[in-house]
């Protein structure tokens, strides 16, 4: 049974349709990537999964349960979390407070402390800046914080919306290494990316979204050599 499954999802912003009959699935333990150009509907797909926009038609099932009518906080409670586009850290809060917000669903203080310590081990930069306001961090540090904030929620599945956007090549590498670490720890990963090359290198499978429709889906190794993908997303 799939961990996450979208079936024939239509999403609208007012009168304009952004997602058209989107169907995709992510199996437990996989890294699945969703590729697509700007404005193809990648972020809308994420927002629809998390109830930030409601789909007009179709179903979304997570862990055997329909979640398309649930409010966002109820979806998070089920162990499905999002690292949103543009990081969205709480700029007027400290690094530590951001991580505490990530652990909002956790009630056991000892577990929270342990999870935060784990994030600090993963990203020592964050520990150095523990008491600094998140708004004063560099873009790369904010991305680490956004990922760390999602990890302290102890997710069973993590969705990431363009985590490499605007980062230096070294940081991009760090982000993709981290994603592989996350999968190794048993967490399922659904990754939206513009950096198709990097994404397909670590993913098991991939989907290609074009103007709101899934036009291709295959094993990542097959997509890398696919002519359409090479022409459109891998620079020929």
């Amino acid at each position: 049974m799939a961990m996450l499954e979208l079936q024939n999802v239509d999403t609208f912003y007012g009168p304009s349709q952004v997602l058209r009959q989107v169907s995709l699935s992510v199996e437990q333990g996989e890294i699945v990537t969703l590729l697509g150009a700007n404005a193809a509907g990648k972020t809308t797909t994420m927002k629809t999964i998390f109830g930030l926009v409601k789909p007009r038609n179709g179903t979304i099932v997570y862990d055997g349960e329909r979640i398309d009518h649930l409010p966002t906080d109820q979806i998070i409670k089920r162990g499905l979390v999002l690292v949103p586009e543009a990081r969205r850290v709480f700029s007027r809060m400290t690094v530590r407070e951001n991580l505490d917000m990530g652990a909002y669903m956790q009630t056991d203080r000892a577990t929270i402390a342990k999870e935060i310590e784990r994030v600090y081990t993963l990203f020592p930069r964050l520990k150095e800046r523990d008491k600094q306001l998140a708004g004063t961090l560099s873009g790369g540090e904010q991305q680490m914080l956004a990922i760390g904030r999602a990890l302290v929620a102890r997710p069973r599945m993590i969705c990431m919306d363009e985590p490499s956007l605007g980062l230096s090549p070294i940081l991009v590498q760090l982000v993709f290494d981290t994603i592989q670490e996350i999968r190794k720890s048993g967490v399922t990963v659904f990754l939206v990316e513009q950096n198709a090359n990097m994404a397909l290198n670590i993913a098991d499978r991939g989907y290609v979204l074009q103007t709101g429709k899934i036009i291709l889906s295959d094993k990542a190794s097959a997509l890398i050599t696919n002519d359409v993908v090479r022409a459109a997303y891998l620079g020929g």
Partner: protein
């Protein structure tokens, strides 16, 4: 400083007005907090907030009348009466504010920003008209039950009531500060104020958090309503309109959305108003005009207020 240079300057009078201003400012600050917290979280000027404050004054008046409180109390009777009126005032305004959000603002949350503002003005009218129907359009005396004693330091007179108001206001502000900065719910409230969508993605229930904000803002106005009635020893169905506008000015002066700013703005406006009463010719008539002149000046020269606005991040 030119004031100090005046030849016949009476420093005693000056400090007395500062003292009056601090007492008034403490009340303004409590009401300003409600404006600023609500604006900080949903970017709405809750025009009904002043009337939410007024409802605390009329409901607690009815309670005091029902209990035949009509003379100065002492000891347990005083403490018990204060506690009872404060609890009633806090529950009235806190509950009313939560109800207003639920009925008049929440259904409009995704509407253009002008729409909930009009709804707020409508709620304000309703609250005033119902209060007028119930309590008439007359100024009604609020029973004087608090000891009217005062301490004097030189020529400065500080009444026990002034001290009580100041201590209560500061205690509530410290409590609010501890809540927002040290508790999980307070942190969720600040997160929601910065980015509601991101807060929801942490698992925060946004509707509940917004209700909590209205509850706290209303509760502070409720406490202010009780002490203001004691201070003015009268109640009037339009009192919230005037006081609300002044408290709103205080919130803008400090920086809308900024909790520390509302406190600073409240005390500053209180002190400026008291000094204007003393030093502007025919000052009593001008004291509120001065408050609004300040509002206009801030909006022109420093629209983000003294300590800076704190509004949701734009994504």
């Amino acid at each position: 400083m030119h004031i100090l240079a005046a030849s016949s300057f009476d420093t005693g009078l000056f400090f007395q007005q500062i003292e009056n201003g601090i007492t008034l400012g403490a009340i303004y600050a409590l009401v300003a907090l409600g404006y600023t917290m609500v604006y900080g979280i949903i970017e709405l000027i809750n025009f009904a907030h002043g009337d939410v404050f007024m409802w605390s004054t009329i409901v607690t008046l009815s309670v005091a009348q029902a209990l035949h409180i009509d003379h100065v109390l002492g000891g347990f009777a005083l403490v018990g009466t204060l506690l009872l009126l404060l609890i009633v005032g806090i529950l009235t305004s806190g509950g009313l504010n939560v109800l207003i959000e639920r009925v008049a603002y929440r259904p409009l949350r995704r509407a253009p920003r002008l729409i909930p503002l009009i709804s707020a003005i409508g709620v304000s009218f309703i609250l005033e008209n119902v209060a007028q129907l119930w309590k008439t359009a007359n100024v009604i005396a609020y029973p004087v039950f608090f000891p009217t004693n005062a301490i004097t330091i030189g020529s400065l007179t500080i009444t026990y009531l002034d001290i009580f108001i100041f201590v209560l206001a500061v205690a509530l502000m410290v409590g609010l500060n501890v809540f927002t900065n040290r508790t999980k719910m307070g942190r969720a409230m600040r997160a929601t104020a910065q980015d509601p969508e991101a807060a929801a993605l942490m698992g925060v229930n946004i509707n509940q958090t917004i209700s909590l904000t209205f509850l706290i803002g209303g509760a502070l106005a409720g406490a202010a309503g009780v002490v203001y009635s004691m201070y003015a020893s009268s109640v009037y169905f339009l009192s919230g309109f005037q006081l609300g506008l002044i408290a709103f000015t205080a919130a803008v002066l400090g920086g809308i959305g900024n909790i520390q700013g509302a406190v600073l703005g409240g005390f500053l406006i209180g002190i400026i108003e008291a000094l204007a009463t003393q030093y502007v010719p025919n000052g009593l008539a001008w004291s509120q005009g001065v408050a609004f002149a300040i509002l206009i000046l801030i909006l022109i020269f420093r629209p983000s207020g003294l300590l800076g606005q704190q509004v949701p991040d734009k994504v």
